[in-house]
Symmetry: C2
Subunit: 410 residues, 2 copies
């Protein structure tokens, strides 16, 4: 008999419980086995809900019950989630989690514990919510060498940028609206400063390249400084400013993960990902470019991903031996942000094309002078941060001030 336990009955945990109840017959058919809800661990009581009798206040009865083969961790945060998940794995129970912070910070340890105990640690829900991305990258694209993974991995910031682009709202107004609609938290720091997207690109980087990438090794810049002027002018040139979490494999074999606002070229589907939706784009040697799109958060979308993992765990006997990545010394594996190069969007005080070309090299097709006496252009030559700084200084010497610049995502 297979029973499952849910750790944490907040938004995601209650979604798991409710989606399971709704689709139980269908889920058991797809499991090929019966599956029962056994325990819900939460500090609160839920006397009014049909599953109130399953609530426990301690992990111990879950660990002690041999019928519990699968555990859904929906608590969030590193502790006590880490302690509980590790204990479950060591008690020979597979775990499925929606907790990106846990995976980004402790994934290597938990994957090793799962392997040692012939069970699985799954985390489809930790990146992109409902979007199937972990399993597609890990299994469907397993024959491929990855060259890049780029994504819109945070719905809150995408919603804010979208409101700026489409409704001409400035950042603060858009953030307030996102908070009113429940898309942004009262303290929006993790979203707005890019930390949430950072955790997710750590997970995708570890998966694609086989070694753990820790959040503090990733250059991370949020969207707080994104100016409505640039959003509009970029859009005129055919680009959309998005918060892009990306990892690229460089020619020296190192990888370079970054989180920052980028100007996404209009024919790249990521430029069309609007509202709270998320998307992940992969570039590989065999499959070329693929894209995965869907709801990046929310009660049932996230529950859908947690339950998908649980269904596979019930189908499987034993660990997927290759489902692991190594701990890593980031210094040998991860390139410094100084090596990041890209074409660039520039907004400057009034400047003629000759001056801009002299400093920036070849310019894109359209250079636009605005009514406010500013100039925007695309520098077609790839530049790193130091080269951008040098260009800013060179332009200043010619009387042209750089007001903003964004790297381009092609």
């Amino acid at each position: 008999m297979n029973k499952f336990a849910v750790l944490g009955c907040g938004v995601v945990g209650s979604g798991v419980v409710e989606l399971f109840e709704k689709n139980k017959a269908l889920i058991e058919k797809r499991c090929g086995k019966s599956l029962e809800m056994g325990y819900i661990l939460d500090l609160r009581d839920f006397p009014d809900r049909p599953y109130g009798n399953l609530v426990v206040k301690s992990i111990d009865p879950i660990l002690a019950d041999p019928d519990v083969t699968v555990v859904a961790e929906c608590m969030g945060g590193v502790e006590p989630a880490f302690t509980f998940v590790k204990a479950c794995l060591e008690a020979d129970k597979s775990v499925s989690t929606s907790n990106k912070e846990l995976v980004a910070k402790k994934g290597d340890i938990l994957l090793a514990a799962a392997k040692a105990h012939n069970v699985n640690f799954f985390f489809e829900a930790s990146v992109g919510g409902a979007i199937p991305i972990i399993r597609p990258m890990h299994k469907c694209l397993a024959a491929n060498d990855f060259s890049a993974v780029s994504g819109i991995l945070n719905g809150t910031t995408n919603f804010i940028l979208n409101k700026m682009i489409c409704d001409n709202m400035d950042f603060d107004t858009a953030l307030k609206l996102a908070q009113e609609l429940g898309y942004a938290e009262k303290d929006p720091t993790a979203d707005v400063e890019g930390h949430d997207a950072c955790r997710k690109i750590c997970i995708l980087s570890s998966l694609a390249f086989g070694k753990h990438v820790y959040p503090d090794a990733v250059f991370t810049k949020g969207i707080r400084e994104v100016d409505l002027t640039d959003v509009k002018l970029c859009s005129m040139l055919g680009y959309a400013i998005k918060l892009i979490a990306q990892v690229k494999k460089l020619e020296n074999g190192k990888i370079l993960p970054t989180v920052m606002p980028m100007a996404v070229q209009g024919d790249n589907l990521l430029s069309q990902v609007n509202g709270v939706f998320n998307a992940v784009m992969t570039d590989t040697d065999g499959a070329d470019r693929s894209l995965f799109y869907g709801r990046g958060a929310g009660k049932f979308p996230t529950a859908s991903a947690v339950l998908g993992d649980m269904i596979e765990q019930v189908q499987l006997d034993g660990t997927i031996s290759a489902q692991t990545w190594e701990a890593s010394d980031n210094a040998d594996f991860i390139e410094d942000y100084a090596a990041f190069t890209a074409k660039r969007y520039f907004r400057t005080t009034a400047a003629d094309a000759a001056t801009l070309t002299e400093v920036l090299g070849t310019l894109g097709e359209r250079t636009v002078s605005t009514e406010e006496g500013e100039t925007v252009c695309i520098a077609e030559t790839e530049m790193n941060a130091a080269q951008v700084d040098a260009a800013v200084k060179a332009l200043a010497q010619k009387g042209v001030q750089v007001l903003a610049q964004y790297p381009i995502l092609l």
Copy 2:
């Protein structure tokens, strides 16, 4: 020891061989086990290629070798592929295939054979080439009840329609170009008439709803009659004409699969899928809307999907017991096309809005009169085919001829 065999060394088969050779170290790491190329079954010899010594002319040595645990079928067509694949499964070897005709016509039999012999029949490459779609639908979305699956599943027709939209080419010129570029075959019937897309939506329908959907049960209409005029006018109204393969679950519990040109609304990402790329969109109760995009065909993209399956087969011990669908009596399961309803795009001879509204009901925001004295509009009321026929007759009585109509995909 795990060895694999490749049946058919044409475009896809040679792609499997070459991508495996290129990424062997990485693939073995992801398998968690060693994997060797054992046999290539082909009627031709390949004396100049490094793997020429592995070529065999008969399936027998492959069936007889107990080290062969995985077989890649890349022959195409129903026979002899069906006989060979069935024999492999019955000899306890898992099979991965890129052959959509085989899966669409014989999938239920082969899935049952795999299950009976505790091995797997995988077919990620049979739909959408490199796009991970089978495993995401089957595993990641396994907790969901599907309400619709819609896709652009044929790259050739998408390339042709795209050339019509973007380069103002008529159908025959675009088809000729596709043939010159190697995207369309000399006999383009299977692509142009929708048969290829039909096989693929059969596979996705069977997977989503658990019973085999055979190609002859699917209403299928190709793109041969798509007029450049409508492509252009639709685009003016904010829609893109695409060959859409779709299956919907109706309120009566039956499903309704169709393949036909539809006018896709501009904010649906499917309208942005250009060139030879494919995409699949799923609508489910938990995950809501998801989209999967990538290269739908080609040597390495298809090989990527075949090898992804093979890697999972090497990781696994035994069958995935739920990886199956039942044979079906289509009559009880599949609704007739007569029940298909949608909003519609209409192109008529010159007509005033009052007349059109009287017959078609509420019209979309824009009704356009063209320089050629024609009128185009969107009928917002959903109509089935019989209602469209009645509307055509009613308009004729008022002196308005319907020149074209397309169902809308929102």
